[in-house]
Amino acid sequence: MSPNAASSGVTARDTNTRRPAPAPRRPTAWEHVRGALQDGRIRTPLIYGLSLLAVLGGWQFAAHRFRLLLLFPPPSATFERFVALLLDGSIEKASAVSLLRILAGFLVGSLAGILLGLLLGSSRLARALLEPYVHFFRFVPPLAWFAPVLLWFGIGEKARILLIVYTTVFAVALNAMAGVAAVSRNKIRMARAFGARPFQVFVLITLPASVPYIFTGMRVAMGNSFMTVVAAEMLAAGEGLGYLVNTGVIFLDTTTVFSGVIALGILGFTTDRVFRWLIRRFGGRFTAGPFAFDQ
């Protein structure tokens, strides 16, 4: 051993001067599979697939095995019915009717909610005068108003749309109010230092800064609106998805009921995604950093 090697603690055997490094082995098929399983992009859809297979398969099996074809029709029957309803246009028509109701009420309610929320958030006077009502009426479920509204406006579109307006206004107003309160003080101070008048502060600072909160409120309101519309349609007929589901109940046609439920799920999911996209796209720029609200 050379003196240098001794002092550094390295023996001749460690330094790989004589034998060349072994060539890398080709991975076996099993190692390929294992690698793929670790990769999230493959793993997630795989588990989704397995999950759906297991549940749908189990459902199909159980429905036939336990002869629950009426009470709990198997996926095959449900799917068949769904397609049938799709083909004859019932689902599309029902969905369109329900959605339009929601949209009409939703747009009006959102506008009113935004104005109300921004007003309440900015003006102490308005808050003192109006806050008791907001905090009372927000706890009265919209459906409770259905009966009085029917009494006043009869069984018509107006009644249903009004209910949606009510549902939307409070969710949006409360979130808009929170948005105003959350505007950082330094933004307002900055604007005032540059000579902005209160109106300018409101339009140029408060309003844009509240946008992500307003979107969040609209997202919540959308969910609540679905609930209200479906219940209203079940109670007082009129061609929406709720009505469709109801007809299923009357004729004990569970496949129709399931089809309606599925359609509702799809609609709800899609509208929620739309809002989430809106929040992500426009929410990010409205704060100086990433805007992470809920999922």
Partner: protein, 260 residues
């Protein structure tokens, strides 16, 4: 003897009846065109001094005047550069943020754009005008604030620990750049910090505040080091030691009071 440009006369400040007085009989005078540093331990009220001059708060007793006129509220002659980035408007681009004050003042688009371009160039952000604040680093965001202040030709710049949230290397770079910009523009600056080295790099005069509550200015040390200043040389070290003596007493007091 000319009247001071900015003056604090017997200023007292307290937030409400129940809290202790933050500032007690504070007297301070700033000359026009000087770079004044306010140093002190945490809780000594230095941010309050800035807020009073900015007009965000009103003194309980006493008066603050600029050029003889008392300060009654915020105004475009005293622009503030805040700590952190939450005064930047995330929905506007860098250029639009810098132009914001000018837009409020009613300036035309072409002139605004020209001025903003110049300011961005001066702070070294020439190519970033299209980006949004959340795409910028901490140091870059502070430069945007500086550009925004420069663009308005305000006589007085108020800076509240602007580089505190930035990493040390970026901080040193920003300090040197700020010193350079100030030499070119010669505004009156009130700069708050707790970093002694920063004070020496930037300030003509350094005011050391007493430990709070009921704080005031303990002593003012003149900084005659020739610009541009470098952190390594002996004169810097001597000045550092001198200021440190004054400050550390107050820091000790603050720690004592906090742990009582």
């Amino acid at each position: 003897m000319s009247a001071p440009y900015i003056s604090f006369r017997d200023v007292c400040f307290t937030y409400n009846e129940r809290a202790a007085e933050v500032l007690s009989n504070l007297n301070l005078e700033l000359k026009r065109g000087e770079f004044f540093l306010l140093l002190g331990p945490s809780g000594c009220g230095k941010t309050t001094v800035l807020n009073l001059l900015a007009g965000f708060e009103q003194p309980t007793v006493g008066q603050i005047a600029v050029g003889g006129t008392p300060v009654t509220g915020p105004g475009p002659d005293r622009i503030v550069i805040f700590q952190g980035d939450d005064s930047l408007l995330g929905w506007l681009s860098t250029m639009e943020n810098v132009e914001f004050g000018l837009m409020l003042a009613g300036m035309g688009r072409r002139e605004r754009r020209a001025r903003a371009d110049r300011a961005l160039k001066m702070v070294g952000l020439a190519g970033q005008d299209g980006k949004h604040p959340h795409e910028l680093s901490g140091g870059m965001k502070q430069r945007v604030q500086i550009a925004r202040a420069l663009v308005c030709d305000a006589d007085i710049l108020l800076m509240d620990e602007p580089f505190a949230a930035v990493d040390a290397q970026t901080r040193a770079i920003l300090q040197d750049e700020l010193a350079r910009i100030w030499m070119e523009t010669q505004r009156t600056v009130l700069f708050i910090t707790h970093d002694i080295a920063e004070a020496i790099i930037l300030g003509d005069r350094i005011g050391v505040m007493r430990a709070g509550p009921r704080s005031g200015v303990k002593e003012i040390i003149a900084n005659d080091l020739p610009r541009p200043r470098s952190r390594g040389d002996v004169a810097f070290a001597n000045m550092y030691a001198r200021i440190e003596r004054a400050v550390s007493e107050e820091v000790q007091l603050t720690v004592q009071r906090e742990t009582r």
